[in-house]
């Protein structure tokens, strides 16, 4: 398979694995009497295993599930760290708007000023 396509696929699988593992841990850790995490956790675990198997099939250097998990999580974490600057710049727009906007006239605040 084309190297770039392979990288893209690893990136998508990495994001999927990282996100699913995070949600699974969240559901288990934040268990309470009204939550019903059994079916979602079971299906998410199966889908993660399926992705790990795909990585083992595609990557010759990876032969077992633990290495595949490490590889997938690493891909997900590194990719998120790489694209965070884009969101950082997007947030700057809102920060700039917050910096330049003027407060509406408030008689209570004016009263505080006069004191």
């Amino acid at each position: 398979m084309n190297d770039i396509l392979l990288e893209l696929l690893y990136s998508i699988l990495g994001g999927f694995i990282l996100s699913n593992i995070s949600i699974i841990i969240f559901q288990i850790v934040s268990f309470h009497p009204y939550s019903r995490p059994t079916i979602p956790v079971f299906i998410q675990s199966l889908s993660v295993l399926f992705c790990l198997a795909i990585i083992i099939q595609l990557n010759d250097g990876i032969t077992n599930f633990s290495n595949s998990m490490r590889f997938g999580l690493t891909e997900g974490i590194v990719d998120i760290l790489t694209i965070l600057p884009i969101f950082y710049v997007l947030m700057l727009y809102f920060l700039f708007r917050a910096s330049i906007r003027s407060l509406p006239e408030d008689p209570l605040l004016a009263l505080l000023d006069s004191e």
């Binding site: 998508i12 934040s30 999580l73 974490i77 694209i83 920060l95 910096s99």
Partner: protein, 179 residues
């Protein structure tokens, strides 16, 4: 080498546990120790005592390139939010220094990530597809599970004793005499 790798994964899972503990249940039932988990996880990820394996070294290097500009930018955001006229008058020292710190974070980003190619960023952004699929499928699963729960029968009417009990509680709370 294995110790370094274990330390990174320990830090990662402690961070996840901390975030999960911090978001569990209603606000008054959140786990008290989430902050300690977060701090421990953060320290475990950032303070490397051993050299990790090749796989985890990638994470370690990414963090080394990420933390300087991100922590600076975070400080800048904080200062700007303090100085911005959101709830009070503009505080110019904080606002201006915040923007200066944010500009400095850009400089740090370019310093630490000068070798980053556009193609790498484009490929990395495809991870959002994976995250989106995961979150949507989770929402779908939760919806299916919730829809399978049968509706409960309507609650029976309160008995006279229960009515009296409720009346007493309300009377006590609003300070009205029983009579």
């Amino acid at each position: 080498m294995i110790e370094g790798s274990m330390q990174i994964w320990l830090g990662f899972f402690l961070l996840l546990l901390g975030v999960s503990f911090g978001r569990m249940g209603p606000s008054f039932q959140r786990n008290r120790y989430y902050l300690y988990f977060l701090l421990l996880g953060f320290l475990s990820l950032c303070v490397q005592l051993y050299v990790p394996n090749k796989q985890e070294l990638v994470i370690s290097n990414s963090l080394e390139n990420f933390l300087p500009w991100f922590s600076t930018g975070f400080l800048g955001y904080y200062l700007v939010l303090i100085g911005a006229p959101t709830y009070w008058k503009t505080r110019y020292p904080q606002l201006i220094s915040g923007w200066v710190v944010i500009l400095f974070s850009f400089f740090l980003y370019l310093q630490y990530n000068s070798d980053l190619a556009i193609m790498e960023v484009l490929i990395a952004s495809s991870t959002l597809i994976g995250i989106l699929i995961s979150v949507l499928s989770f929402a779908l699963l939760v919806r299916i599970v919730e829809n399978r729960i049968p509706l409960e029968e309507p609650a029976p009417e309160l008995t006279d004793r229960e009515k009296e009990f409720v009346r007493q509680i309300i009377s006590n709370n609003i300070g009205v005499d029983d009579k």
